[in-house]
């Protein structure tokens, strides 16, 4: 019986199991319950079974928000991955020391609060500091102007937010790529750009698709930049959930929208897993 004894005692799993059950699964269960609870004016909610919130979720109002959210998130995700892909491939070819330095910068940017990113980009694009000022000083603008709020500011902020994430999602598959494949293409006369287009990108097709979906979900979760950098028509589902929960005191409606967002996110994460797995076994 001795050798089959696992290296850890069985009760070791109990504490984390309990913690995750009580502090993660139970809150989700309660959220589901709240999404069908009744609204209580001035308070939080009263338990019950009322599908009114879901009726509101499947209304043109929420439909428009969902379309806006998806359009904005998809645009930002594609931009971020397009910028991140060559970046990651170049990064993967660097020395370990150089890679470490770049990764430190990326992690620092990635860990920054959306609040700080919002504030920084806002300041950069504002009238009194940053780009507007610079362009006026160069004589390209007659007077300093602000580029925020607006769609441009919002997309800048979202790409800023998701670029480091896109690089880190692409990093493992790119780092695992056999460098001799690209080198072989070079010896056969392909230029670096051609090698990138005909060898590297096709090899990474599945990871690129998977990364785009993950970055899309990541941007979908952005709750603050649309408020700080966008106009009200750019507010995404995440913003509206926050707004309903905190300012409109309508927890059941917020919960129902969160369930919708959860469903979309889970479906997409599942899809990304499927994409990357099928490719791996399929070829």
């Amino acid at each position: 019986m001795s050798a089959r004894e696992a290296p850890t005692p069985y009760w070791l799993g109990l504490l984390p199991a309990l913690a995750l059950l009580v502090l993660f699964l139970v809150p989700f269960g309660i959220m589901l319950a709240v999404s069908v609870a009744g609204r209580e004016a001035g308070g939080f909610f009263t338990w019950g079974f009322d599908l009114a919130s879901y009726a509101r979720v499947f209304s043109p109002f929420v439909g428009r928000i969902l379309v806006t959210s998806v359009a904005i998130a998809l645009g930002a995700a594609i931009l971020a991955v397009a910028l991140a892909l060559p970046f990651t491939v170049i990064l993967g070819g660097m020395s370990r020391r150089a890679q470490t330095v770049v990764l430190v910068v990326l992690l620092s940017a990635l860990s920054l609060s959306e609040v700080i990113i919002g504030f920084s980009v806002n300041t950069l694009l504002s009238q009194t500091a940053g780009v507007g000022n610079l362009l006026a000083w160069l004589g390209l603008l007659e007077a300093p102007r602000a580029f925020t709020p607006g769609l441009f500011a919002l997309m800048t902020g979202l790409v800023y937010l998701s670029f480091p994430y896109a690089v880190l999602v692409l990093y493992p598959p790119v780092a695992r790529l056999d460098p001799e494949l690209a080198q072989a293409a070079r010896t056969m006369g392909a230029s670096p750009l051609r090698t990138f287009a005909t060898v590297t990108v096709p090899l990474l097709r599945a990871p690129i698709l998977g990364a785009t979906i993950l970055v899309f979900v990541f941007v979908l979760g952005s709750y603050l930049l649309p408020q700080v950098l966008g106009r009200p028509q750019h507010w995404t589902l995440s913003v509206h959930i926050t707004d309903q929960a905190i300012y409109q005191s309508n927890l059941p409606f917020a919960a129902a929208m969160a369930v919708l967002l959860l469903a979309v996110a889970l479906a997409l994460v599942g899809l990304s897993l499927l994409v990357t797995r099928e490719r791996r076994t399929g070829t």
Partner: protein, 266 residues
């Protein structure tokens, strides 16, 4: 892309990435109450102010306390879970691992709202303990990933060797596994600490009106009156993050920690 052009691309993007931070750093040096760039009457006045002004020292203390305790909780949950998964496996363990990673993969608003209704139901809405526990669970993913990576890199024959030399299971864990995985535990704690410091939406939903953290304070200032202290906090956060990740990069193997198999440095 020749080598030089590729290097240029990386440098330009990193430059763009640091541009807003540089502007904010400049703004933080303004002598007056304004947010101008380039700064007017440069001075370090607001850096002192962060540690003096009562309406900022409170959030500063809250943020540090929450980050320190929540990361501890995250490690306390992640370490046994990672060990359990490494030592035993099985479908139940896999489900637990997915649960440990899930909070981080989903849009944070969902997790935040889940915590909000949970603490409301328990009557703990608005308490700092609620923020600490919520952050702790939310951030379990980070130490879970780093510690699991550390455990996978331990040669199984080290464990077997210890057994043949007379070590019991507990002794193997204490004298071999834990010392080898300790750097990964520390990295996991540091990752979680930095992210807790920066986390906004959960802290805001769980106790935003009573336990103000620095990100909440900045957001409120965005709405109700700008001050260069916002720039000071941003610069400080960037410095903390760079310091933490730089230290991990200097002493550990950051490329491996982030999923590069080939970066087996000696």
């Amino acid at each position: 892309m020749s080598r030089r052009l590729g290097g240029l691309y990386v440098v330009v993007l990193l430059g763009l990435l640091s541009l807003p931070i540089l502007v904010v750093a400049g703004v933080s040096l303004n002598g007056g109450q304004s947010l101008r760039f380039p700064p007017v009457d440069p001075s370090l006045r607001w850096y002192g102010e962060l540690f003096r002004a009562a309406d900022w020292t409170g959030p500063l203390r809250n943020s540090v306390v929450i980050a320190a305790l929540a990361s501890l909780l995250a490690v306390a949950v992640a370490l046994p879970l990672a060990l359990h998964s490494w030592g035993r496996g099985g479908w139940l363990t896999r489900v637990l691992m997915v649960l440990g990673v899930a909070p981080f993969m989903l849009p944070p608003v969902i997790t935040a709202l889940g915590f909000l209704v949970f603490w409301v139901s328990l009557g703990m809405y608005g308490q700092m303990a609620a923020t600490v526990l919520s952050h702790g669970i939310f951030l379990v993913t980070l130490p879970l990933v780093t510690i699991s990576l550390g455990l996978v890199s331990i040669d199984r024959s080290l464990v077997e060797a210890a057994r043949t030399m007379g070590a019991t299971r507990g002794q193997v864990l204490r004298t071999v596994v834990l010392p080898l995985v300790a750097p990964y535990v520390v990295s996991g704690y540091a990752f979680a600490f930095v992210l807790s410091l920066n986390e906004y939406i959960i802290a805001y939903m769980v106790a935003g009106f009573t336990v103000e953290t620095l990100p909440i304070k900045i957001f409120n200032s965005l709405r109700y009156g700008y001050t260069p202290i916002m720039g000071v906090v941003s610069v400080l956060f960037v410095l903390v993050a760079a310091l933490v990740f730089g230290t991990i990069g200097a002493f550990g193997n950051l490329p491996r920690l982030l999923g590069s198999d080939r970066a087996e440095g000696r």
